[in-house]
């Protein structure tokens, strides 16, 4: 029997601040700890500032989810200031949110995830050569096409928001822009280019309409084998290689899912309140415990800090009751962390007391809820897939890419619903109060809580999707979703623990550059590899 510890720091490819420690026995992970290695302090920055500061500051919490933060920040103020939102305002916010999410799909798939499938670990698989040919970093035949295509939807965002990232165009009472027919026409043309350059020819090998007829796993298999175009598309290759490489066999996770849902319907959220929100979202919200759906009531959220380096909080609290974070000076590196004590800058959010996975898989599970209303997405596919296959790296990847055709369709519909003669902004009255704004960032459930008192921010709390997914153990010692998903993972080569990376990247954790692994006993660096 061989016992081994691996310290992997950082795991990500975009930003280098997620560290993972895995304990191995005979090549299988028995326990894992995730460490968010950086204190951010955005909530601290906002305390005592102008109520609208979140519109400028929070989009800068992240270089890729800025529009999602903006969606939350403006929504939280809408609730607090009791604004009125015009249909145009809701449409243009939804278009911005959807553009940001759809751009992430090819960018994440090619630049973050698929390159791992070209790892030498899979060299003995029959489809390996084809995977390398298409998806190897930078040189793969689809890599550049996909990454370039991901630049198109953000052009649409820029038409309405001025720029992506870091716009603040969504404001309480609506949006800043008042687009013209030129803008709408250009947006249609840009989305069309995204479809014609990548989505249909490269990714699907068929029309969006044909793909969206798929309602079950059997339909998916039938689609795959229907013709060579489907079979040889990048999605076709993902379906075949994903199963052949065994991506459906690891990275299960906690099996409980949370989505706040998003895309507030243009005619159903003109008077923003917390209560009115859940019924008004087009991509439905909910908590799925593995068997049943529950309402996504934000009051069911509590953040645990037993294993997070914060000094001024002991118990698990709802965000409205949490103090602005006071950072401990006793943070440690991964090698020196005591995992019975505090070991991460991420808090551990829990819903109804449970660790919950968030992300596209959570969203498509909510989309499969039979109780969804007529204005909501009704898509049974992932209800069926979860029943037949359960969660895994493969399921998570499939869920993410499955969203692209639908989001494309939604953006096109919304663009055609904008009424150029009608209002885009209704000036609100500023007042004290409390607000909650939520959305689905590309990588999962995002929410902001705000308390305004004496005309300034008294308290601002953000729970990002990555907080849900990479959070540490809670007060009761229950593991976070990624910690849990790593358990049981077989690591073939401890000098190149690509499996750990694949699990973490299947969550698209936004704490994400190079990976290097150490043998903790000898201190010897086992591996270091760069994208």
């Amino acid at each position: 029997m061989s016992l081994k510890e691996l310290n992997i720091s950082p795991v990500g490819r975009v930003e280098g601040d997620l560290d993972v420690k895995v304990y191995m026995e005979n090549g299988v992970v028995t326990r894992a700890h995730t460490q968010a290695a950086m204190f951010r302090g955005f909530e601290k920055i906002l305390q005592g500032k102008d109520p609208q500061s979140g519109l400028i500051v929070t989009p800068r919490a992240c270089g890729i989810c800025g529009g999602s933060h903006l969606y939350c920040a403006s929504s939280a103020l809408d609730v607090a200031w009791q604004t009125t939102l015009s249909p145009n305002a809701l449409l243009l916010r939804a278009i911005g949110q959807a553009a940001e999410t759809i751009q992430s799909i090819p960018r994440w798939f090619y630049a973050i995830f698929a390159t791992d499938m070209a790892n030498k670990k899979f060299a003995n698989k029959p489809l390996y050569q084809e995977v390398v040919k298409r998806w190897a970093a930078y040189v793969g035949t689809s890599f550049q096409t996909g990454v370039t295509a991901s630049g198109r939807p953000v052009e649409v965002y820029a038409l309405f928001g001025g720029q992506w990232p870091h716009s603040s165009y969504m404001v309480p009472g609506g949006v800043m822009c008042a687009p013209t027919l030129k803008d709408i026409t250009r947006a249609h043309a840009i989305m069309n280019q995204f479809r014609n350059d990548w989505l249909e020819p490269v990714w699907l090998g068929c029309s969006i309409e044909r793909y969206m007829q798929i309602k079950s796993w059997d339909d998916m298999m039938e689609w795959l084998n229907e013709n060579e175009s489907h079979f040889n598309s990048d999605l076709g290759l993902l379906l075949r290689a994903g199963i052949e490489f065994g991506l459906d066999k690891f990275g299960q996770g906690v099996g409980k899912f949370l989505a706040w849902g998003t895309y507030l319907h243009k005619d159903m959220y003109n008077k923003p309140t917390i209560e009115a929100r859940n019924p008004a979202v087009i991509s439905s919200s909910g908590f799925w415990d593995g068997k049943n759906y529950h309402a996504a009531d934000h009051m069911q959220v509590a953040e645990h800090v037993k294993h997070a380096w914060y000094m001024n909080q002991a118990d698990a609290l709802h965000p409205f009751d949490e103090p602005a974070p006071m950072a401990s000076t006793d943070s440690r590196t991964l090698e020196n962390s005591d995992f019975n004590d505090k070991y991460s800058w991420a808090k551990a959010p829990r819903f109804m007391g449970h660790a919950a996975e968030t992300g596209p898989l959570a969203r498509v599970i909510m989309n499969a809820n039979p109780a969804n209303a007529a204005h909501q997405i009704q898509d049974p596919l992932f209800g069926d897939i979860m029943e037949k296959m359960g969660p895994s790296v493969f399921t998570r990847v499939l869920a993410r890419v499955h969203e692209a055709p639908r989001i494309y369709t939604l953006i096109n519909d919304w663009l055609s619903q904008v009424r150029l003669d009608d209002e885009f902004y209704i000036k609100p009255t500023e007042r004290d109060g409390i607000g909650w704004g939520a959305t689905e960032a590309a990588r999962g459930a995002l929410a902001h809580w705000i308390k305004i008192k004496n005309g300034v921010i008294e308290n601002y709390q953000i729970i990002a999707p990555t907080t849900w997914n990479v959070g540490p153990n809670d007060s009761e010692g229950k593991a976070g979703p990624i910690e849990s998903a790593l358990e049981g993972t077989e690591i073939e080569d401890p000098h190149d623990p690509v499996e750990v990376g694949m699990v973490a990247r299947s969550f698209d954790s936004c704490l994400v550059c190079t990976v290097h692994a150490h043998d903790n006993k000898t201190g010897k660096e086992l591996a270091k590899f760069k994208l």
Binding site: D50, I56, Y157, L159, G162, W164, S168, V171, L181, G455
Partner: protein, 138 residues
């Protein structure tokens, strides 16, 4: 090649206002507001385009746009001091003023009083009609 803040001059010499489609509205003091086409955002909603050096309206963001082209006030994010006024109460998306009407911050390069005088004259004299559309077309 680099300026006093070590920014490459090729990107940080021009102001955001260079190339802003609302520059005529700036000269003539025509106010812009959120959700409305045309008008200059400097006077009411805190646009920092005249005081901020960046190439946003020259190179364009995402090949197509810029904040001020989408009726979004420039936040001055390329200048030291961002976020400006330390986000104090009343400073976000509002122009900070003296006596309720004179902008506290004016474009660099000339004394404040001279700017106030010139802005007053500009409002009275106006521009040629061909330049006066203020971007109101749909």
């Amino acid at each position: 090649m680099i300026d006093e803040y070590h920014r490459p001059k090729t990107f940080f010499t021009d102001f955001v206002q260079n190339g802003c489609p609302n520059a005529v509205a700036f000269s003539e003091k025509v106010d812009g507001h959120f959700g409305k086409r045309g008008g200059c955002l400097f006077y009411e909603v805190g646009c920092r385009g005249p005081m901020t050096r960046a190439s946003c309206n020259r190179i364009l963001w995402n090949r197509h746009s810029s904040k001020t082209r989408a009726n979004h006030p420039c936040l001055g994010c390329t200048e030291p001091g961002f976020p400006h006024h330390d986000l104090k109460k009343g400073s976000v998306f509002k122009t900070m003023k003296y006596l309720g009407f004179l902008p506290q911050e004016t474009p660099p390069g000339e004394p404040k009083l001279f700017y106030y005088f010139k802005a007053g004259v500009g409002k009275v004299l106006g521009s040629p009609d061909s330049a006066k559309n203020y971007g109101n077309s749909k």
